[in-house]
């Protein structure tokens, strides 16, 4: 049941992506609104998917790669729509919807069946630790999208060569502000995600920190964002520099999320393809 729902949600996300891309190309507000509505509906179906899966599996569905990708895509869509409430940005919507669809598509390529829960994960810390970490990552992904768009817009403004995108993109300051807001929300989430992980590790493995690859990479990523936040607050790192940081940060996030699981075995390895 949840697998079928997942496929429906994926299809709807894909449609919403297509529609919002068309809306960007044709630069029409009405189509943009329809695309957003469809995105909201897809998000609704996806939410139901997660709830159904929770009851089918009997645990929070964030324990294998399929479930993680699904939850991450859900968080990304949700976080974006929250940001979108404040400033409507058609191009942002199209780019984010594309990312959500890509993550969903990857998720659909992984084994999707529910399995028996690894006893180590059977804890109330599971939803807290994973939820906080993924929400933080989703916020940083929105920052990543804004950063890419910032660099595109900035290059056009500096070089004075404008493509059609220039007229459709929001202003530099707006994009930079999205970046800052994401940092303000994402950083505490990520910090709490790591701390909750440490507390859980203490109760599960008997030690707060064991330098397993996931922990190390998460820490590196955390330092990166901490540096950006510090630079922003003290010497006014913004604009291009902040955008580049957000992009590098996202690459590290992605590696921590996926790369570590696929390439570097460690304590967090129950989260790989086979589950």
């Amino acid at each position: 049941m949840s697998i079928l729902l997942y496929k429906v949600a994926l299809l709807m996300y894909a449609l919403a992506t297509l529609m919002s891309l068309v809306a960007v190309v044709r630069n029409r507000g009405t189509e943009g609104r329809r695309a957003r509505l469809l995105l909201l509906l897809a998000f609704g179906v996806h939410t139901i998917t997660l709830i159904v899966r929770y009851f089918e599996a009997g645990y929070t569905p964030v324990t294998n790669l399929h479930e993680s990708l699904s939850f991450f895509a859900w968080a990304l869509a949700g976080v974006f729509m929250l940001f979108d409430l404040q400033v409507r940005m058609q191009v942002m919507a199209a780019a984010t919807a594309t990312l959500v669809t890509v993550f969903m598509l990857f998720g659909s390529l992984m084994p999707m069946q529910t399995q028996d829960l690894n006893p180590v994960l059977d804890s109330f810390w599971l939803p807290i630790h994973v939820g906080l970490s993924f929400l933080g990552s989703a916020v940083f992904t929105v920052a990543f999208v804004a950063a890419i768009l910032y660099l595109l817009q900035e290059r056009m403004l500096k070089s004075k060569k404008f493509s059609a995108l220039h007229y459709r993109l929001p202003s530099l300051e707006t994009l930079d502000r999205v970046n800052y807001r994401c940092l303000k929300f994402g950083f505490p989430l990520m910090t709490m995600g790591i701390i909750s992980g440490a507390v859980w590790a203490e109760s599960a493995w008997g030690t707060y920190w064991s330098w397993d690859p996931k922990e190390s990479w998460a820490l590196i990523t955390w330092f990166l964002y901490a540096a950006l936040l510090h630079g922003r607050l003290t010497v006014g790192w913004r604009g291009r520099r902040a955008a580049i940081f957000a992009i590098i940060g996202f690459c590290f996030l992605l590696f921590t999320f996926l790369g570590v699981n696929l390439l570097l075995p460690g304590l967090h390895s129950y989260n790989s393809m086979s589950g």
């Binding site: 630069n27 993109l169 530099l172 300051e173 604009g239």
Partner: protein, 438 residues
Amino acid sequence: MDIFVVGLSHKTTPVSIRETVAFAPERIGDALGQLKEIHCIAEVVVVSTCNRVEIYAAADRAEEGVEAVTLFLAHYHGLDAEQLSKHLYVYQGDEAVRHLFRVAASLDSMVVGEPQILGQIKDAYGYAVEHGSVGLIMNRFLHKAFSVAKRVRTETNIAGNAVSVSFAAVELARKIFDSIEGKTVMLLGAGEMCELAARHFINNGVKEVLVANRTFSRAQTLAQEFSGRAVLFENFSDHLHQVDIVLSSTGATSFIIHPDQVKRALRQRKQKPMFFIDIAVPRDIDPRVNNVGNVYLYDVDDLQGIVKANMDERQKESIAAEEIIDQELLQFKGWMGSLEVVPTIVALRQKMERLRQREVEKTLSQIKNLDDQGRRAIEAMSQALINKILHQPTAGLKRAQKGSEAQPYVDVLQELFELEIEAPKGEMKQVDQDLDEH
């Protein structure tokens, strides 16, 4: 009834001729009055702007109308008709309709997409209404032109991007800053261009204006005008960090703003972005300032390049606009056709009815000893006969009207049956309903 236009515009005629043919607003009423007196012209509108003088009219025979209007234009302005007609263009029927649609949608303007022309046509229509020179056709025609213009404006990007240097600067600022509201502008020098651009920024909500000029008193007057504040030219550099937008047009012969100054200002303002607009020739601002992070420098050529690109974009958008006009033209043609179709059907019916009554009377008077039943039978038979005969042509005409190709049928019917059609008087809906009931 035919629509036609006689006119001249910036595309066909130099200003030296245009100005002799133009109608001052206070004389349009007079001109409309005289045009109304011309017997072959049923309805008329006079559009007169600095770029065009056009007379739109409806007449039974367009050729006669065109000639009369041309003569009127020449006589009214004391010109030689033959000389004048060299400059005039004449469009009839569909082409006249398309012409007004294009003019109203600003496709025929010097700056494609400029918004004034629509207002000017609305004014022209207003005069015509005021002087009672428009009726059913022109009312519908002009209203259609307004709605076409509106459609073009909302459905295409024809009026989208700035086509003047100062507006282009404002639009760029909108792509750099969240909004212009609350920003601070500094004017260096007090050139006319600079003032104009500053005014655009102020209209868009700039919070504060600083003015620096070599002559301090000039700076003060200007500052007063913008309710801003004047600063000493020697000290302008100390204020750089307080401003978001710098508009420069001094007469300096070498650069007055250098990258180092800008970098310092940027550090002081925590890297908040700055937008420099250099309208001076020779330039005031070292072009390397553009390489400083979070700083955007545009000189006159950059802005003109944008204006040029925007104009090209408008040209491209005009293709989409022409498509909209094609659609609307077809619709309007359909309506014009219906003006002829319905009265033709009515006239045809009336003619048949007259013939029938005459023949029935003749027949009845010839037959003696006919009882009531027999009379009614003959009446009914004759009635049924003309209904049967007219049924198919009526249906055919209505079909043709839907496809906007009724004209040839209408012409043939009017010719063959020698129908006399009265000009429609606005009760078209009524006629339409009557017909549907048959």
